[in-house]
Structure formats: structure tokens, C-alpha cells
Subunit: 277 residues, 4 copies
């Protein structure tokens, strides 16, 4: 292991979180600070670029963020999904005084919920159809949860918001049902942040309702300028990042980890690969 000769902020042996995308630095998106939209980005695990299930990798120093002593490498490995949650929260301008709903209690839903809480959002409710995931959401700090299979989501949200609707919805489930519920529960003039991809890529939406409420839809593609803040939030105890991990695998079982994560969504919220003990 070594660091480049011009690198000032890192030393050999430092533990870091990697931001996976190397961007061109001079296109209009890079120059305007929206580098996540750079068309020439080279991003780990996005074809044709391989991922990094490996012990060593060379990476641009500016994309390596040192972890403080009280942030573990397990947490460091989860800064990437947390960054998606924070980017969603920022796109939605999440702030104190709001009542928000997160659709979906998978990894991205949970980190979004924690990002909202860390930014001061007053009440954050999580909607899913699996009780185990909803229990996890409560354990990690959700104000309340709604099982969409058992309760009428819109009616429940109306009750929780004195009939006014939500100030902010983060849609991470990627389903048409939750996307439509998001529009139904949103307060006039509020914002929905779409994060989850649907399987077909297509969603049928009641756009007339969105127009009548003058809603704003924001979307999320990865993240930008988030890592230092996200790492700090974990170090400060504002986000219980290790809490989302339900299973660990050694590196030589990475394929098993992938399989089980896909097949057993109800039990495995988030699995991590552990390289060293």
C-alpha cells in the first residue's frame, strides 16, 4: 500500500471510505458541481467497470475519505448507500418541522429515514409490506411504521398529519403502488423524491392529482458532495449505520451473499462482505 506523492490528507494505513465514481472534472456538470451527472464517469460495479470485492484497489486520493477512529470499516463500507439517503434528503430539502414518509424499508429506505432524522425532520414514518423490515425501521429511529398490506396507507397518513398530508415523501420502493400513494399522501405544494427504480422502468402516475397539488418531483442519481458530511454524521452518532446490517459474509462467500440477499429480502435487510477479521 502507498499514497501518491502529492497526497497530503492520507497516510499508509489510514482507513478510508471510497467514493466509487471518477469524473472528468471539466464537463459542464463537473464544473457546475453536479459531478454525479458527468457522462464520462467511471464508476465501480457499473458495467463495463468491475466492482471491488477485492483486498486492494488503487483509487484517486480525492475520492478516499478518511474514517475517524470511532467509525468502523463496516460503517465505512456503508457510507456509499448512506450517501444515497442523504442525497435524497437534500434533494427534498428535508428539515426540522416537517412530517415525512419514506416508502420502502430496504437499505435505501432505512438510510433515507435516518438521513431525514439526522437533518432534523420532526416525524418520519416508514411504509413497507414486510414486518421484519418495519421492525428494523422502528429500531433505527422511525417515528412510526405502516404495513401497506395491513393498513390503508393514505388513510393512516391522513390521520397522522391532521388531514393535511406529508411535507415530504422519499419513494425508495420503486413500485407503482407506492409511487401513486406518494402522490396521494403529499400535501399541497410539497415534494416527492423518487429514488427507487421500478422493474419495467415505467410507472403510471395520476399526474392530474400532482398538478392540482402543485407537487414537485425530485429524483436521485447516486449522490454528490456527501461523503465528509455522512462520515461525520456517523461519527457523531446521528446515524446508526451499523444497525442496518443483518448479516456478514467472508470475501470468499461473496456470491452466496449476493444470492441470499436477493432471495431472502424479508430477513436480510443489508449484508456486508468482511475482508479482514
Amino acid at each position: 500500500m502507498e499514497v501518491g506523492k502529492d497526497v497530503k490528507h492520507l497516510q499508509v494505513g489510514d482507513r478510508v471510505a471510497l467514493e466509487p465514481g471518477k469524473t472528468c472534472g471539466h464537463c459542464e456538470f463537473c464544473k457546475e458541481g453536479k459531478y454525479n451527472l458527468c457522462p464520462d464517469v467511471v464508476f465501480f460495479a457499473t458495467p463495463p467497470v468491475d466492482g471491488v470485492f477485492q483486498e486492494y484497489v488503487a483509487h484517486e486520493a480525492a475520492l478516499c475519505f478518511k474514517l475517524p477512529d470511532n467509525v468502523s470499516t463496516l460503517e465505512g463500507a456503508l457510507i456509499e448507500p448512506l450517501a444515497v439517503g442523504f442525497h435524497a434528503a437534500i434533494q427534498g430539502d428535508a428539515h426540522l418541522g416537517q412530517k415525512a414518509v419514506v416508502m420502502g424499508a430496504g437499505c435505501i429506505g432505512l438510510v433515507s429515514m435516518m438521513a431525514l432524522k439526522a437533518r432534523g425532520v420532526s416525524e418520519v414514518y416508514v411504509v413497507d409490506v414486510m414486518d421484519k423490515r418495519l421492525d428494523k425501521a422502528m429500531e433505527l429511529g422511525a417515528t412510526g411504521v405502516i404495513n401497506g398490506m395491513k393498513e390503508d396507507v393514505a388513510a393512516k397518513v391522513r390521520e397522522l398529519t391532521d388531514g393535511k398530508g406529508t411535507d415530504l415523501v422519499i419513494e425508495t420502493a420503486g413500485s407503482e403502488i407506492t409511487s401513486r400513494q406518494a402522490i396521494e399522501i403529499a400535501k399541497n405544494g410539497s415534494t416527492i423524491v423518487f429514488v427507487g427504480y421500478s422493474k419495467s422502468g415505467e410507472v403510471t402516475l395520476p399526474m392530474s392529482v400532482a398538478l392540482n397539488k402543485e407537487l414537485t418531483f425530485k429524483t436521485v442519481f447516486r449522490y454528490r458532495n456527501i461523503y465528509p458530511m455522512a462520515i461525520q454524521a456517523v461519527a457523531d452518532g446521528k446515524v446508526n449505520l451499523k444497525g442496518i446490517v443483518t448479516k456478514e459474509y467472508p470475501l470468499d462467500q461473496a456470491d452466496i451473499a449476493m444470492d441470499e440477499s436477493i432471495k431472502n429480502k424479508a430477513d436480510i435487510v443489508k449484508a456486508v462482505i468482511r475482508i479482514h477479521d
Copy 2:
């Protein structure tokens, strides 16, 4: 005719444009300046409130905006739709340096195009399927037009934008085809403003494309805080408002005006009712 005793800014005989919605003034939407979202608004021609095809009407003074001498009552009658166009332009933060596309060359499409131009947008292209409407768009100042029946809209926009896509789309046609085209032609990180209502109220959208481009969708419900600026823009010659009128009817033919406007969309872009000669 008379004015209330506390009214300072109007005199009997003044010609005014009416903003049609009386709002409550103390709900959260009114207090935050988004009075167009007031749930208790009383709005002319929105059931159960009648419209004002009549010679006299009593209306709140703060909603009556005096027309300067060089703005005609015909133009005054069109400030309302123009306000929708300006609200769309403002929702999309339209500004100098952008290349924009307006979907639809009906009344709202045309006023949106003129609102964009008045705010300094560098290039504004208009898409429709009727040549007469597109001719009208060119006459009123569009940078160029595209007939969606004859040309491949996405290919043409790609060509006009050096392959980059548009900085802003204003969707006024309300069709699924144009809504999908809007997403297809939008540049990474850009904004689409949805103004037009579809017939069914439902639209199927390629949300995955929107996510990959990290698009923002804004919507428009009426308008707010626009009238003084819109009237001034007409007075300054920045918007050729009377140019959108293709037919005038006397008050006693209001029903005919309605019928013909609906049946003959290709020829009648915008009709007005003339009360006095």
C-alpha cells in the same frame, strides 16, 4: 360602478385585469405566499362558482390590477392565461442561456413560449401537430418549431442542442406522447414543468430515464403573484399578447364561442368575448 371607501389604488372608470381567486389569507399556504394552493379559495368559473361572462362584477380590490393606457382591455382579458405561462416559466426558473422546448402550441403553450422569451431564454422551440398553430408560434417569436407528426421530435431536438438535450421543457399538451418526449429530450439535471392535464388524469412515464438523468418535475396550479409583472411585460412590448387571439365574439354568442373553440382547435388558437365595442 364604484370602488370601496378604503380602496386607494383604483378609481371608477379604471380598466383592470381581474385575478379570479379570492383566498382565505390565513391558512399556511396563504401565509407562506403560495396562495394559489389555499384550500378555501373561491375562484371564478370553478364549480360551484360561476364564471364572469357578464358586464359587471364586484371583486376584491386587491385582485383588480389597473391596466396602463397602452394595454387594451382585450389584452387585459388575456392576462389570466399569460399568468399561467409566467408561473410555468418561473417554476422552471427560465433564464438567459437556456435552450427550451414548449410542448403544445395552444393558448397556454404560446403564452409559455412568450413568457420564456420575455425572461431571456435564448432559444425556445415549440412542438405541436397542427401547422397552423406552429405558424402562430413562429409569428409570435418562437426560435423554431417542430411538427411531431412529420418529424422525430427527439432527433430534431438532439440536433438543435448539439446532442445535449434541453435545459427546460414546458409540457402544456397534456398528452402521454409529449410527456414522454419531454423526458427523452431533457438534459441531465434539467427541469420539466408539467402544465397540461391529460384526459384520463393518468400518464405512464419512463421514470427510470428520469432518475438516470436526475430530472426535476415541477407542476403548475394556476399562478401566484404574477399579475403586476405580466401586465408590465405586455405594456413594455415584451409579450405580444393580442397576437394569440384569432377570433372575437360578442357576449351574446358566448356559447357559440365555446363550441367553436372546442370543435375547431386547428383554426381557433384563442377566442375572446368582446363585451363593449
Copy 3:
């Protein structure tokens, strides 16, 4: 005591916090949601309008905000200054990940510090010259404090921010010294919110430094649209509002309360008048 016949959200006996300013509701500032700038506002305790050191007062229902059971009337009386702190925090777009400094540890400085913390700001340092006030700041949750009489404020802030400077300064002391320090410690591109009035009304500032750093100065005049959120923040325990009160007086000693508060700034951070026991 009674409530108006059209009032739905209050009943006789409800405990409320009063927002003191009645605004006109139809000027451009009111209609744009910046009602605190309404030129025709009638505001308690702003000449020629008397204050309300009295047991009963009639007030517009929309300006009476019901207190939840777990918020005391003492806290209710302090929602007004807290609203200034929240307005300052919002004007400065205070958010998670920032390092901020509050100049001044008087009532407004302390509520500003707590407002920043409640909005998620990661580190908030408070500067003052009186140790008792700084102790109070620590007690109420400041990340750290700096006594400007004993330490070099700029050097200390440089140390606390790895030489980068602050992301946000809230200036509540109203002195030229602290205003100049604010500019000195601010990071490139950051924002200073000016809240405190200087005695002369005039301040000499190194504007060239502000230009070189491309700083933004925001200012605060009262507040707008804050009460419900501020009350909720107190109810949720996010702001320790009662902690700023160092002394209570009965109503018939209001004049003494005023005198002592002015003469004895080091000991009395904030005094309140108690009407009923």
C-alpha cells in the same frame, strides 16, 4: 374569555403562544409570504402599539398557536424570541454537516444556537465576553464556547475548523468587533446572518474581505411562518427553552424586571414575567 364564532382551532381555556404582529394580508409582502415585511403591521410593544404586560388581550385567532400539554406557558412566552433564532437559522440555511459560530450568548444568541442544533448543525460554537453566559451556552448544548476577552476568536475558530473557517455565522451581539470577526472567520462562499442591532446603527466592515470570500450576508427582521414548528421543536425536546430563563418576576414587578435585565446582563440572561402561579 371567549373565541370568535368562526374560530375552529381554539377553545376557551386553551393555552396559546401569541405571534404579536397583525399584518394587512394584501400588500405584496403579505402575498409573497414575507409578511414580516408588511409596512402596515401592528406589532405589540412596537410604538405606538403597547406591549401586553397584562392578564387579558384580544388577538387574531390565526396568530394564537395552541400549546401542547407538555409545553408550559413559561415556554410559550419564549416562543417569540425562539422564533427569531429559528428565522436566523432558516435565513442562513443551517443544516447538518456545517460548523457554525454564534456571536453573542444573550437570549437571541442562545436561542439561535439551539435553533441551529435542532436543525442538525453538527458543531455550534458560541462567542461572548461573559463567562456566565458562556456557561449557560454550554449547559444548553453548545459544542464549545470562546471568550473573546480571553482568546483570539479568529485563531480559535481556525483551529476548530482545520483552518477552513465556518460554514455559517449568526451575529447576534450587534457590535462592530463581532461583525468584523464574523467576516474574518467565515469560509469562502459562506453566509453570515446579521441579527443584532448596533447601538449607533452603523458598522464599519472590511467589505473587500467579504468580496474576496464571496460571502453572503442575510439579515433578520422578526420572523415569519415559524410558530408551529418552534412549538413542536420545544414539545419534542429538541430545544431546551426553559433553560434560558434565569429569573422570574410577578406582573406587578414588571418595571423592576426591565431595570434589572438591563443593568445586570451578566447574571440575567432572560427574565420572564409570571402572571399566574
Copy 4:
């Protein structure tokens, strides 16, 4: 002359405008799109870096912006100051419907005025003390001018704005008098953009007035992400850039050009060095 092998957007012989600052590309300011605040910038004519009064220079391709055929090299040489004007206009969110005042009719004042007009600002008044400069402002499209030596600026602006004050002030003169006038003429809730540096670097301001009006002060340090838009605005005839040039000098008289520009401010608004005929 040659272009680097990876450069796609330029060919030998292209005429370009140079953006003078090479930035690091990976500090927080660069990554957030505020590259003008990069602490490691290398900027022509900013000590210790020389300027480019010379025939040839090697420069980063991404900082070389091709001029369209209808934009002359004389105009190309003036894109740099125009970029300051546009950055000021953008910092102030200049837009249609506003009444604005520009303090100072020097080069930066004039390009700011033209930038405001190009962004659609309805009325732009220019204040200076030299009639020749004010004549130039009128010639270039100002709505009106005020000679601060002959007229009461505040009284005149009050008259021009129906007593309301300005929506936007761009302060380019750098004097205390005009800075104070800016605050005096600004409407409640409006923005002043400070561009001009004062000689001493210090300015005494009536901050209490700024607080009472809840003004925002923005400042300008160079510019960012402006060149393509500025070049397009010149190409489209929205900015009469060559109109600000009052004198041309050959390259071997650069020193004379500098001397005369400083000594004869009333006559020379902007001089340019012509390298080739």
C-alpha cells in the same frame, strides 16, 4: 499554434475567449461548482501570475471558448468583464419584472447593466457622477440615468419606483456613498450585490437599516460557469459589448493604455489592446 491531442472542441485557427483561472478540480469549492473560490487557482494577471499582453499563450482547452463567426475578437476580449456583470446579475437573481439600479457606470457597471437587461429586468437605472459615462449607459440601453452630483439619488429612485424602492441594486462603484445609497434605495426584502472594491477595503454601513428592511447582501468574486452563456448573449445581439470600448491601442502601447485609462476615467470607459489588425 496547436491543440492538445485529446482536445475535441477546438481546431488550430479557432478564435477563442480565454477564461483566465486554472483551478485544482478537487477541492470542496471545485467539486461544489464554486470553482471561482478554489484557493489554489492560478489566474492570469493576479500576482504572482503574469497577465497575457502577448501574442501567444498556452492555456487549458476547457478554459478556451470558441467564438462564433459573428462575435469578433474585440468582443472576445471583453467576455471576461462581461462575465463579472453576468455573475453579479445571477448572484442577484435578476429577472423580468424587477426595477434595478446599477451604482457606477464604469466598465463593470455598464456590463452589469447590460447583463440585467439581457436577463429581462424591466427597468435598469444607472448612477454615476460623470455625464459622459451616463451618456454611454443610455446609449447602451439603460432605462434612465442619475447623476449623483446633480440629483438626490434616493429621492429620484423613490420617484421612479412609486415610493417602493428597488428590487435589486448592483454596487460597482466601490464607494461608501454609493454603498449607503444602495441600502437607502433598496425595497424591503430585496438584494444588493456588492461588486466594487473600495480603496481602503473598509465601508461604514447603516446595518440597522439593512436589518429593518431584511436585506440580503450578495458579493461577487470573479465568476463561474458563465462564458458559454455570455458569448451566446453577445452573438444573439442581447449585449452590445463592443459599445463599451471607447479606445483601442496597439500591443506596443499597452503601458500608455494603462496610464491613460487610469488618468482619464471620464473619457475612457474601456480601452482594449489590439494585437493584430
